[in-house]
Amino acid sequence: MTLTFEDFSLGRFGTFGPRHVSRDEIIAFASEFDPQPMHLDEAVAKHTMLRGLAGSGWHLCSLMMRMMFDGYIGRTASLGSPGVDEVRWLLPLRPGDDLMLDVDVAAARVSRSRPEMGIVTFAMRMRNASGQVLLEAVSPIMIRRREGWAAQN
């Protein structure tokens, strides 16, 4: 069953994961998109504000997207996203972390310009295995309404 706009009511939606993140993945992402020493080299990273090898914040965001996809977006009538209201990088992603994703529905409304879809705003939190919060994000996603929505109005 594909999830539609109507399936997202305010409050806790779900918790997804774990997603294991290896040192090799961290270095592969950083090599392509964020080749700063704190993401590539333990010896240098030790002396930075992050105090040790840390994944790129953009890697963590991209992993959040993948966890959203695997958790629910992959079975949702998603039409894409207009953007991200806010991301806070609170603690570094470390090699070997097992990530969990908590998802809340913060807002849900029917689109004015496209009444066949709604906009669901998700408030998300990524945690490591010890429960420390690494990232908080708020992001809207456009989701198709259930077949026959026009007849119900």
Binding site: F33, T48, M49, L50, A54, L63, V84, E86, M142
Partner: protein, 161 residues
Amino acid sequence: MGYFEDMEVGLRRDLGSFTFTGERIKAFASQFDPQPFHLDEEEGRKSLFGGLAASGWHVASVWMKLMVADSRREAAEAVARGEKPGMWGPSPGFRDMRWLKPVLAGDTVSYASEVESLRASRSRPEWGVMQVRNTGTNQRGELVFSFLGSVFVPRRHPSQD
């Protein structure tokens, strides 16, 4: 790159451009955002995007790629002048990221970064916090991407207050 004292509101950097080929779009999407409109031309055409579209996180990650490359060039120039380059610290986050228009296969996006605000860090006297408005513009001159990022920038002279 550079020191907090060298920054001023309105200071702009052009970061260069990147072409989102279908192959690159699919490679990123298959790893991080395997929604059909990011993986398949036909699915893309049927979607709101009207073609195979890059994941928004791909568009954002390429901004970082070009920012790092440009910063390395600046640091090398500083070293060539006999100066110690100011290496930026990590970012506490960003706000107001907008994927304004789809980035479709074959599009070339030019990125730029402009200083929006500057303040001293209360908890870290050797750092300042800079907000930058980052943008991406396609080959037709249309703004496709924008966000307000924050970054720690080192101070030449740590604040005493």
